[in-house]
């Protein structure tokens, strides 16, 4: 029982991060109809930027405080993501309006190559660390209830809270602010939004920037946990099954599906894995999503598609 709970907990901790990255995907897809494969590369790029600046700033400006360095580095990284968002809109999106989905998807893969190369050129391709001063050693709770107690990682808790805060902020932003409303309008209907004078271009910059922020936060968290390096790009692949499971256009879908996949893949690996030789985590989430789609082709929360003739 204790072990089961630990597994579920571990899954939830992953799930929160999946949800965060998936959110980035969904926002961009809703607002610009782009299926953004570059999300993973964005995670790496943002994390690299933060890690490196946090390392450089103290040398340049000659101060000690890690916290200060991290804060400024985060700001700079965020600024970079803004520039990136702007560049994407300027140089790519606006030239590809009303292209087919697959063309846009390929374009984002092109972007992926570019920023992979660019990031490594500017920031290097070694392993770098983001030091958030997270406590690494595990704590054991409820030892009275379970033999050996329940293993809880404080850093998991801290980072999960960060991620959830980010998610909450975004949701607020979308519900409460004018820009948020405008974005939702764009998502619902491009033409209509344009006709009431919402500047599509600027909206795209904003969503890509927001997606960039989610990438930065996710990258920061993962970077702090396992070091900032190229492999970060692969983690974001996990967001793909999440978004189709939740429904490409659904923010709550991304969050719920993130948690579902986080938990189920852990349980599957731990309980089913040993029966088939293990390592099934790499495909389980996808197969799960595929099976669900057989019954709900638009995902759990996506809008229903009706054929009209």
């Amino acid at each position: 029982m204790g072990f089961f709970l630990e597994t579920v907990f571990a899954g939830l901790m992953n799930g929160v991060l999946y949800a965060l990255v998936a959110l980035g995907f969904v926002l961009i897809f809703k607002a610009s109809g782009v299926f953004n494969f570059a999300q993973g590369a964005m995670v790496l790029f943002a994390a690299l930027a933060m890690a490196r600046f946090a390392e450089w700033l103290p040398q340049w400006l000659g101060f000690q405080s890690v916290l200060l360095a991290n804060v400024i580095a985060f700001m700079i990284a965020a600024a970079l993501m803004l520039v990136f968002a702007w560049a994407v809109e300027r140089l790519v999106l606006r030239h590809l309006v009303n292209q087919e989905g697959v063309t846009l998807l390929m374009a984002t893969l092109g972007i992926t190559f570019f920023i992979d190369g660019f990031g490594q050129t500017v920031f290097g391709s070694d392993i770098y660390s983001i030091n958030l001063g997270l406590p690494k050693e595990p704590v054991f709770i409820l030892e009275s209830l379970f033999p050996g107690g329940l293993l809880i990682n404080q850093d998991d808790l801290v980072t999960a809270v960060m991620a959830m805060a980010m998610v909450a902020l975004l949701t607020l932003f979308f519900q409460k602010t004018g820009t948020g409303r405008a974005l939702r309008a764009v998502a619902d209907n491009h033409q209509a939004a344009q006709s009431v004078g919402i500047p599509l271009g600027r909206m795209w910059v904003i969503v890509w920037f927001i997606a960039g922020l989610t990438a930065l936060v996710a990258g920061m968290i993962w970077g702090a946990k396992m070091g900032v390096q190229f492999a970060l790009t692969f983690v974001a692949l996990k967001a793909l099954p999440v978004i189709i499971l939740g429904g490409l256009t659904s923010v709550p879908g991304a969050i719920v599906a993130g948690l579902i996949i986080g938990v189920t893949e852990q349980l599957a690996e731990v309980y089913i894995g040993p029966l088939v030789g293990g390592g099934i985590q790499i495909w389980f989430a996808y197969v799960l999503a595929m099976v669900v789609l057989l019954f709900r082709p638009q995902g759990l929360f996506g809008e229903k598609i009706i054929d009209r003739v």
């Binding site: 597994t7 571990a10 992953n14 990682n153 492999a231």
Partner: protein, 444 residues
């Protein structure tokens, strides 16, 4: 369809141009001994593969500073593969004919190694796969062109288990114990399993095989299982980020690092530096050499290469584990050529085929190693033959002290009685499937 004309001629034109250009670059006037270098300086493998490439290049420069191979200067040209198999093949085809012909290839990547093996015989170019590739290539009478010098995974596995047995107080005490194997879910990773299973049968301990999908950034489930099954020891056949992640997860689930043992690609600075003190106590078996900052050869490289501003990489990494692996790889490559020159003419350029003979007839004595500056780094003699393409089965274990490595074992000799039998069996079946005939001693 007519456009295939365009496509093709475009292909021809472009590629031809490119080849022409880059060959034009090469300085092929004086006879040089060409050592191509397939690098992994970009992408996921960069942190671990870059030091290797730097060490390889630096040692070759040192050889030239020492006056070359009996006067024949060495030349290194790199080609970036990022560990992609098809790019590796392209690099091989690009470099093999350059600068008077490639002496030997050291692909470093398992996938590329496999893809190149069928091409070696026709191109008459040998390949050194120190500590990777297929273990059964140690049987040179079936695999004439492949040289897993200094060790392969079965040696690594055997030694790690020996070490564990010693800790437990003898093989007998392993009975009933559990050894978890956390491995890269790929041919590279699986290569370790046969020896572990063999030993398990012999000594009656349980094996808990835990594959990790590459690149290995997601290991929670694996380490939860370890926490649940509570194995007595964990052996890791991992690479790059997978190693670091594994150790972090061990920290997170409270598995004692002292009972974790990596093989020789799972115990280098890039994997551990970032974890620092938390990784203290983690062990890894080393292909003889480990960190060797204060060795003679490192001193020479610093003095004669880096001092003269010819250093390939940052000065700080010189002497690190993977850097040294590059240095040792280069040394073996060069020594083979020295040996070949003894037979085919001193101070002469040596062809790939002649070099192959050199690698097959190596006899690197301790004296020679000391002379080369490898005293305390490597342990001689390294003697190869037609049947034995490894040369030695001596290894050591080192342990992370929070900032660097300390030796934590004496020299350990893998049990060749066990391994040779496995190798022969495996190479035999390879020979059967691909109807290769075993070379007779005369044929060597």
């Amino acid at each position: 369809m007519r456009l295939r004309q365009l496509a093709l001629s475009a292909a021809l034109a472009l590629a031809a141009a490119a080849t022409a250009l880059s060959t034009g670059l090469a300085m092929a006037q004086t006879p040089v001994q060409f050592f191509p270098s397939l690098t992994g300086r970009t992408g996921a493998v960069a942190p671990n593969a870059t030091p290797f490439a730097n060490g390889y290049a630096d040692y070759m420069k040192l050889v030239n500073a020492r006056g070359g191979i009996n006067g024949v200067p060495t030349l290194v040209e790199e080609c970036e593969t990022a560990y992609a198999t098809d790019r590796g093949v392209e690099c091989y085809e690009r470099l093999k004919g350059r600068h008077g012909g490639a002496t030997v290839f050291q692909p470093l990547s398992t996938g590329i190694t496999f893809a190149l093996m069928p091409r070696l015989a026709t191109d008459k170019i040998p390949m050194i796969t120190s500590g990777y590739g297929r273990s059964d290539t140690a049987d040179g009478s079936i695999f004439p062109w492949v040289f897993p010098l200094l060790g392969h995974y079965w040696i690594a596995g055997d030694v790690v288990l020996q070490h564990i047995a010693n800790k437990a107080g003898g093989w007998a005490n392993l009975r009933g114990k559990t050894v978890a194997v956390v491995y890269h879910d790929s041919p590279f990773g699986r290569e370790l399993l046969p020896i572990v299973q063999r030993r398990a049968e012999m000594h009656g301990f349980q094996v808990l095989a835990l594959p990790v999908p590459p690149p290995g950034v997601e290991q929670r489930a694996v380490w939860l299982q370890i926490r649940q099954q509570r194995p007595d020891f964990v052996v890791m056949q991992t690479w790059g980020v997978m190693t670091a992640t594994a150790i972090r997860q061990a920290v997170a689930t409270g598995f004692p690092r002292e009972r974790m043992f990596g093989t020789w690609w799972s115990g280098a600075e890039p994997d551990l530096r970032d974890i620092g003190a938390d990784a203290r106590g983690y062990n890894a078996v080393m292909m003889q050499h480990g960190q060797a900052r204060d060795s003679e050869v490192v001193r020479q490289i610093l003095a004669q290469v880096h001092e003269r501003g010819q250093g390939t990489g940052p000065r700080t990494e010189v002497g690190d584990v993977l850097y040294m692996r590059g240095v040792v790889g280069a040394m073996l490559a060069v020594e083979g050529v020295f040996r070949a020159q003894e037979r085919f003419g001193r101070g002469r350029h040596v062809s790939g085929e002649q070099a192959r003979w050199g690698y097959e007839n190596l006899n690197i004595t301790q004296a020679r190693l000391d002379e080369l500056g490898f005293a305390g780094v490597l342990r001689g003699p390294i003697v190869t033959s037609c049947r034995n393409h490894v040369g030695t089965a001596l290894t050591r274990i080192h342990t992370w002290n929070g900032s660097g490595f300390d030796w934590s074992s004496d020299w350990l000799q893998a049990d060749m009685n066990v391994i040779t039998r496995m190798i022969t069996a495996s190479s035999e079946s390879f020979a059967r499937d691909n109807n290769v005939t075993r070379r007779t001693e005369a044929g060597c």
